[in-house]
């Protein structure tokens, strides 16, 4: 009989619900009596991670901005806007009657206020003091545990890892030892660009595919460096890929300076679709897919 009860406890999830769920966020262990149902995401990365876990938040910060800059995964129309990421409207948050408020990084400044409305989880996601990629995976798993979506999370991470490994293998087979270096950039305007380096999901995608960047960017919080376009001249052998959109394209691409760039002359420049490059752990897979498609048409 005791054995049967033990078996029931282990295999019947309904019975284990009574057990409080304890997870660890950036501030220490946090206990939840039940799985939160009404969740608020304090920024776009958290909103994206929730959607990847099949959880629809009740409200997110800067909804219009999410639809403009992040786009995928698509935000359902039921989600409410709670105001700006830097200064959310706390009264709107109260009206949404949340049972969990998710914050990350600089959102810590709001944690004290938010905790009076509902339990708060705060994650360290982007920081120059740790490696963003493993930290992102850890945060994703922590969230999954809270929502009982561990299986989904593991499946998504494993699928991404498998696809990355497969893509890396295909590239290796296709290029052999001549695998090109790829420098990933995003144009700020027609004169300046952001170059992705260590600690950014975009750079992690490169590494996972067995590629490397020709321009060295020191490790930083977001893993990016701002450079003038002429500095791209140091990409002599490899390829350059830029994320769309680039509105001032015509003003740069027609110039003699741009035409003299080694990677332009050797036709080693390609565009990548618009991807929000400061998202959760699955961003790595999205960027890798884009790079892979650009390398192997």
């Amino acid at each position: 009989m005791r054995f049967l009860r033990l078996m029931l406890l282990m295999f019947w999830p309904g019975l284990t619900l009574a057990q409080p769920i304890t997870i660890t966020d950036s501030r220490g262990p946090q206990s939840f009596d039940s799985t939160p149902k009404r969740v608020i995401a304090g920024n776009w990365m958290l909103a994206e991670m929730l959607l990847e876990l099949d959880i629809v938040p009740v409200g997110i910060a800067d909804l219009a901005g999410y639809n403009k800059w992040v786009v995928a995964p698509e935000m359902p129309e039921t989600v409410a806007d709670i105001g700006l990421r830097s200064e959310p409207n706390l009264e709107v948050v109260i009206d949404l009657k949340p049972d969990l408020i998710l914050l990350s990084d600089d959102g810590l400044a709001m944690a004290e206020h938010a905790a009076r409305i509902a339990p708060v989880l705060h994650f360290d996601a982007y920081s120059d003091k740790h490696d963003n990629i493993p930290a992102g995976r850890k945060n994703f798993r922590t969230l999954a545990k809270l929502f009982g979506q561990e299986r989904l999370a593991e499946a998504k991470l494993a699928a991404m890892d498998a696809r990355l490994a497969e893509q890396a293998k295909t590239l290796k087979e296709a290029f052999g030892d001549d695998i090109p270096q790829v420098t990933l950039i995003r144009f700020l305007d027609e004169k300046r660009a952001v170059i992705y380096g260590e600690n950014s999901p975009a750079f992690a995608a490169l590494s996972a595919l067995g590629l490397s960047s020709e321009i060295d960017v020191p490790k930083s919080k977001w893993g990016v460096g701002y450079r003038r376009v002429r500095k791209l001249g140091s990409v002599t052998q490899g390829k350059v890929m830029y994320f769309e959109p680039f509105d001032q394209q015509e003003q740069l691409f027609d110039t003699a300076l741009w035409q003299a760039m080694p990677f332009v002359q050797s036709k080693n420049l390609s565009a990548l679709p618009a991807i929000w490059s400061y998202g959760g752990p699955l961003t790595v897979g999205r960027v890798a897919d884009a790079i892979f498609d650009a390398l192997i048409p």
Binding site: I82, L84, E91, H113
Partner: protein, 656 residues
């Protein structure tokens, strides 16, 4: 021009030196001269299409800024005027940010016309508001500074609402001379050439302006058309320069002063040599950001470097020339003979009414509703309202003390640089030293504010120039703050953005205890000031009168300055830099009949609280569900009201 040869020689030598410096930092030495013509490699192409255009652009933009600075200075007979001190540049910037975020299509196609309209409207506004009588005086500079604050505040609100779209604009706002070809030079050069061609034609007419507007008019000069023409020319050059490379501060104000320091006197030589001096200055200064960018691997904008180098130079010129600037000592609006006590009750009643509104009227998805439910929603609301009131009282008290002490109706902690100093100190502590904001903000702000006050006290002792110099010092401090902030924000994706809400003056994340602390500080400050109201009365009659009645100015003035600075710095620490409240509240108090220090202090404190409570409430309901920082609302509203007051005062002058 008395000594044409040495000046020409000096300029040529400087040009060669600046050119050489630029080429060295740009790695131009690795260029193979022969390959330039035959088979240019990448190095050679970069030299031809990036380095050379950049040098040319630096020279052209420098010349444009120098020429427009000289033009505006001649026309106003005010040596501290320039496109960046008259609101010309910030007007263009605001117009561009607004179109970039609201109508991106227009922005992409019509950048120049957007910048141009912004520049002309802003400059025109500043000149109209300050009034033709005041062109030669410091008030023009102060109005220009207020314009910079208002336009900057509006621009910041837009940045706040759409950070991702406006991020790239920051580099351009900081002024960056980077070129990727000759297109912009080809576009800019003819515009400058045309402006440079028209200017000498007007030189003889402009020369008459040196006699003063009335004299010039009596000799048959069409003063107004001449001013309009000069302003258009200067705005045109500025807008064109801004369209290409963004805002380059200080070159415009410094170049003409350098030329004068070299002994140039005539109008035409001053104009032309200022263009030369501007060109050389900007070229020389531009080597610094390139060298720094190469060394630090960060992108350092040219404008930030120019501002960092320019600010101290500006103070030096101000110290030298400030005696020649008239400073109006009288309040610019007549004191109405009304019972201030009645008005105080009246203001308090409105303030209480507005507080009730701020506390109980909220905007929800359904619109404006009253909400007496209390609970958590109320717990978040009252600290906001309370800290807004506290900040308003503190800034108003600080402003009243300063206006009485400096006997200048346009003095206030934000104008003399106390607020900027406090902000700069916090930014430095948090971003450059990496200290945690929550712990560093109060000590850093107080340190910065009091440090500026100490410098002001020292200046006051050192020279007899008084308030004028202080205000110019404040202008330089806030320009330095701007330069540092833009540099920090231009680096992008960094801690700088976390400071944006605080920098705009927000009451959003105040806890109850913080709000109470601020109110206590404000009330204690107000109390101290009211206790010493009699001394303040004597002080505002002038130092001679005060000394004669037994007040030691050597003791009193530092104490009042420090008290005022401490109040402003504490407010900055709690709710961020708040502009205009310290300037406006004491004014409105005077208009409502406050004559003696006691009534002045009490009335302006009530008005300050009223302004801030209203700003906080508007910030919460205007753009629901977004909330705008109360400081931004106060800056915009206060600035516009100040413009209105100043414009009205001009009419008053004309009538009498």
């Amino acid at each position: 021009m008395r000594r044409p040869f040495p000046i020409t020689f000096l300029q040529l030598a400087l040009l060669v030196a600046a050119l050489a410096l630029h080429l060295v930092v740009n790695d131009a030495l690795s260029v193979r001269p022969l390959a330039l013509l035959s088979t240019p490699g990448l190095e050679e192409v970069l030299f031809l299409t990036a380095t050379l255009p950049r040098i040319t652009m630096a020279l052209l933009v420098g010349a444009a800024m120098g020429l427009s600075g000289a033009l505006l200075q001649e026309i106003s007979q005010n040596r501290l005027v320039a496109p960046t001190t008259l609101g010309t540049a910030s007007g263009a910037w605001l117009a561009m940010v607004a179109t970039a975020s609201l109508a991106p299509a227009i922005f992409a196609d019509q950048k120049f016309w957007v910048a141009m309209s912004g520049a002309i409207i802003a400059t025109g506004l500043v000149l109209v508001v300050s009034g033709r009588q005041q062109m030669a005086s410091l008030s023009l500079i102060i109005v220009g500074m207020c314009a910079n604050l208002v336009f900057g505040g509006l621009g910041m609100a837009l940045v706040f609402l759409d950070t991702e779209a406006t991020k790239p604009l920051f580099i351009w706002y900081s002024g960056d001379l980077t070129q990727t070809g000759w297109d912009q030079v080809r576009w800019f050069a003819p515009q400058l050439a045309l402006a440079a061609f028209i200017t000498p034609l007007a030189a003889r007419a402009i020369a008459l302006m040196r006699l003063g507007g009335d004299q010039a008019r009596s000799r048959g000069l069409w003063v107004f058309p001449l001013i309009a023409l000069s302003v258009t020319l200067a705005s045109w050059m500025t807008a064109a320069a801004i369209t290409c490379v963004g805002i380059i501060a200080f070159v415009g104000v410094l170049a003409p002063n350098m030329v004068r320091a070299l002994g140039v006197r005539g109008v035409l030589p001053t104009l032309l040599l200022s263009a030369w001096a501007g060109a050389i200055c900007l070229l020389a200064v531009d080597s610094l950001p390139i060298a720094l960018s190469n060394w630090s691997k960060e992108l350092i904008p040219s404008g930030s470097a120019a501002a960092l180098l320019g600010a101290p130079a500006f103070i030096l010129i101000a110290m030298h020339k400030s005696t020649s600037l008239q400073i109006e000592a009288a309040p610019f609006l007549p004191v109405r003979r009304r019972a201030w006590k009645v008005n105080l009750l009246f203001v308090l009643a409105i303030a209480i009414l507005l507080s009730c509104g701020a506390l109980f009227v909220v905007r929800t998805a359904e619109g404006l509703v009253t909400d007496f439910s209390g609970g958590l929603r109320f717990d978040f609301r009252w600290p906001r309202v309370l800290s807004a009131a506290g900040g308003g009282i503190a800034m108003a008290t600080a402003g009243t003390i300063m206006q009485r002490l400096l006997r200048n109706p346009l003095a206030s902690p934000d104008i003399v640089g106390v607020t900027s100093g406090a902000t700069l100190s916090v930014v430095t502590a948090v971003i450059l030293l990496g200290l945690p904001f929550s712990h560093a903000v109060l000590p850093a702000a107080v340190f910065g504010g009091v440090a500026v006050a100490a410098i002001l006290v020292a200046m006051n002792h050192h020279s007899r120039s008084g308030p004028g110099l202080m205000i110019l010092f404040g202008l330089a401090t806030s320009a330095t703050l701007d330069a540092v902030m833009n540099f920090v924000l231009a680096r992008g994706g960094d801690v700088g953005y976390n400071l944006l809400p605080w920098l705009s003056g927000t009451t959003a994340m105040q806890s109850g205890s913080e709000a109470l602390s601020l109110v206590v500080i404000a009330v204690v400050g107000l109390g101290l000031a009211t206790v010493s109201a009699r001394v303040l009365d004597l002080v505002s009659l002038g130092s001679h009168v005060a000394e004669a009645r037994g007040v030691s100015m050597r003791v009193a003035s530092p104490i009042f300055l420090i008290l005022s600075a401490a109040l402003a710095a504490a407010t900055t620490a709690f709710v961020g830099p708040i502009s205009f409240v310290g300037l406006l509240a004491p004014h409105i108090a005077r208009m409502l009949g406050a004559r003696m220090a006691l009534s002045h202090l009490l009335l302006s404190a009530a008005i300050g609280a009223l302004i801030m409570i209203l700003s906080d409430h508007l910030g919460r309901i205007l753009l629901f569900p977004q909330t705008l920082p109360s400081g931004t609302i106060a800056t915009i509203g206060g600035g516009l009201f100040l413009f209105y007051l100043l414009a009205k005062k001009d009419k008053f002058h004309n009538r009498t």
